[in-house]
């Protein structure tokens, strides 16, 4: 009995240290910034433009890529094919490679001499230094979160329900949209939120593709480099607050939907 108590004590202490490690720097950041500074920063056009740009590019990247990522997740959950393990590994690649390296790889892929770049030029679009390029960079590093969450969601839908729907006269398409997708929806939404949040906070890959227009993580870095910690802090605090608010809002939306279902 005493042993368990001691063990619990040690674990609680260690756990507390980890929590402190996460909370302390953030609290420090907030404490050293006055509300006045935050309001002033929120009034700067450069800052608001960059926050809008960050949110919008991340949202569009998430939505556009979701159309292909969700079917892929379904295939991974339902079908067996040769080298499936390899494909699963490839999907996790963006998480494990350094994001600056990812940015450089992407730059080669979308620059003007590449196929995609040339296709873009034909409609007058140059991805490098363009919000579209930023969205691509964000999606590249954050898409594994969506694919993995959606795959788990699809895998959790009992195949028996799909079989039952087929015997009830539904076509495979109708089964997917009326049974499989709604039942996996919770996981998909949580994947979409993760992808969006991860995309918004991306710095390494984005800065290689586009220094301008400036997304907020780049803006924070630039202010830090040019003017120092004091000038970078308010933007950082503001961006964290907005990210948190968005994250909590989206989470509560998906929770509410879940509640309706029960």
């Amino acid at each position: 009995m005493k042993k368990i108590a001691t063990l619990q004590l040690v674990f609680t202490l260690l756990g507390g240290l980890v929590l402190l490690f996460i909370i302390a720097p953030l609290t420090g950041l907030f404490l050293s910034t006055t509300p006045h500074q935050i309001f002033n920063t929120a009034g700067e056009e450069e800052v608001t433009t960059s926050i809008w740009l960050t949110v919008i590019t991340s949202v569009s990247g998430t939505i556009v890529f979701a159309f292909a990522a969700i079917p892929l997740a379904w295939i991974l959950a339902r079908k067996q094919f040769p080298m499936k393990k390899l494909v699963t590994g490839v999907i996790d690649l963006p998480v494990v490679i350094p994001h600056s390296a990812a940015g450089i790889a992407l730059l080669g892929f979308i620059s003007r001499d590449s196929l995609l770049g040339q296709a873009g030029s034909m409609v007058g679009l140059n991805f490098v230094g363009h919000p579209a390029g930023i969205a691509i960079a964000m999606a590249f590093v954050s898409i594994p979160y969506l694919i993995n969450a959606a795959r788990d969601g699809f895998a959790g839908v009992p195949e028996r329900l799909e079989k039952a729907a087929l015997t009830l006269g539904a076509s495979p398409g109708r089964v997917f949209f009326t049974i499989t997708l709604p039942l996996a929806w919770r996981n998909i939404v949580s994947g979409l939120i993760m992808m969006f949040a991860r995309g918004m906070s991306e710095f390494g890959a984005v800065i290689v593709i586009a220094y301008h227009p400036m997304v907020t993580p780049v803006l924070i870095y630039e202010r830090f480099g040019a003017f120092g910690l004091k000038y970078a802090r308010p933007v950082a605090v503001l961006f964290i607050l907005i990210s948190l608010a968005l994250f909590i809002f989206l989470r509560s939306l998906s929770k509410e939907k879940e509640g309706n279902r029960q």
Binding site: L161, K163, T167, L168, A170, R261
Partner: protein
């Protein structure tokens, strides 16, 4: 008239196979596929439904070959053991699902759903979420959802297995009612009591093969293989009518033998089952607490894996199961006269 026929259906799948399954189900049959779990019964159902495609053989539906037909076009409804109710849809939308798949009109859908829900006794549950329903209610919803599309053949995969005893009786009565209205049913089960209580024909399935097919009487009285005999396990099996008199509940067999039953039985028709182990033999009449005592002649002595089976003709044939040592001690021989005894509580009554 033959409703659906399977001709030499074979299928190999994940280390398991169906071997030349041939069955023929007539219109308004209540056809039971009886076998242990893993025998291949469910796979036969899924083949009929189109969820599994056979490697060989053909399925004829009123004489038309439907082996290659798409699932959606087959006129069968299937009810799974775990109900497979869609958890995100209300009861109404679950039942309306097949109608919407077939693009019925909204008004017709409402009418049809309400009608079938009333028949199944779940009209009050239409606005409920499946998570709030009991097992019996879910099974009724599953039946309603299959029946609303007016299937030619209703396939039931262990529909009673997940229900407790009280609910089983309830759903059995409902299935009997559905069958009475003319529905052809194919029902998969591992429970011989269920087979007796419901089936008009029984096919016994073992290791992917049909090993015996016939009426309940044929299969239970004349098992053609030791597997069937062992699986069913009960040789004393009599079609009876029950009645009550001053001494309690009684059953009368077709040969006119009267058997005392436990008190809780109801007046009805059905089967009486007595395990061979529960029958005691004596070489002269004795006064015992067993209320059923009959005099008879030994017609056969058979060694079986479970002991020695003594067949006693009392006008009705009884099979008693005794040990080798009892046989030697009593010096029983074919042609000898014995008395058989069993308690009223050893007689199980299954209502049909």
């Amino acid at each position: 008239m033959v409703h659906i026929q399977l001709n030499k259906i074979s299928k190999k799948y994940a280390g398991f196979e169906l071997k030349e399954i041939s069955i023929s189900v007539s219109e308004n049959d209540y056809f039971i596929l009886l076998g242990e779990s893993g025998a291949g019964k469910s796979m036969i159902l899924e083949t009929i439904a189109g969820l599994v495609w056979p490697d060989n053989g053909e399925i004829l539906f009123r004489g038309t070959n439907i082996t290659q037909q798409k699932i959606q076009q087959r006129k069968v409804g299937i009810v799974f053991q775990d109900h497979a109710i869609f958890p995100h849809l209300k009861v109404f939308d679950n039942i309306a699902y097949p109608l919407r798949s077939r693009k019925c009109e909204g008004l017709t859908i409402r009418e049809m759903v309400t009608k079938i829900a009333t028949q199944m006794g779940i009209a009050g549950l239409l606005d409920r979420r499946p998570a709030t329903l009991s097992g019996g209610e879910l099974q009724r919803v599953a039946l309603a959802r299959s029946l609303v599309q007016q299937p030619e053949i209703l396939l039931l995969d262990e529909p009673l297995a997940s229900l407790d005893t009280g609910l089983k009786t309830e759903i059995r009565a409902l299935l009997r009612e559905i069958h009475k209205q003319g529905q052809t049913i194919i029902h998969v089960t591992h429970d011989y009591e269920e087979a007796l209580a419901l089936g008009t024909r029984i096919a016994v399935v073992n290791k992917g093969k049909i090993i015996q097919e016939g009426s309940p009487e044929e299969v239970f009285h004349h098992p053609t293989s030791s597997f069937v005999a062992h699986f069913i396990g009960i040789r004393n099996f009599f079609r009876v009518k029950t009645f009550s008199d001053t001494l309690g509940m009684k059953a009368i067999t077709e040969e006119g033998l009267i058997i005392q039953l436990p008190e809780e039985c109801v007046v009805s028709e059905g089967f009486v089952l007595i395990r061979g182990e529960d029958i005691i033999l004596s070489d002269e009449p004795v006064n015992s607490s067993a209320t059923n005592t009959f005099r008879g002649t030994i017609t056969e002595i058979l060694p079986t894996p479970r002991g020695i089976e003594i067949c006693v003709d009392t006008g009705t044939l009884f099979y008693a199961l005794i040990t080798h040592s009892s046989l030697n001690r009593m010096g029983l021989a074919e042609g000898g006269v014995v008395w058989i005894h069993f308690k009223a509580t050893a007689a199980r009554f299954i209502k049909i």
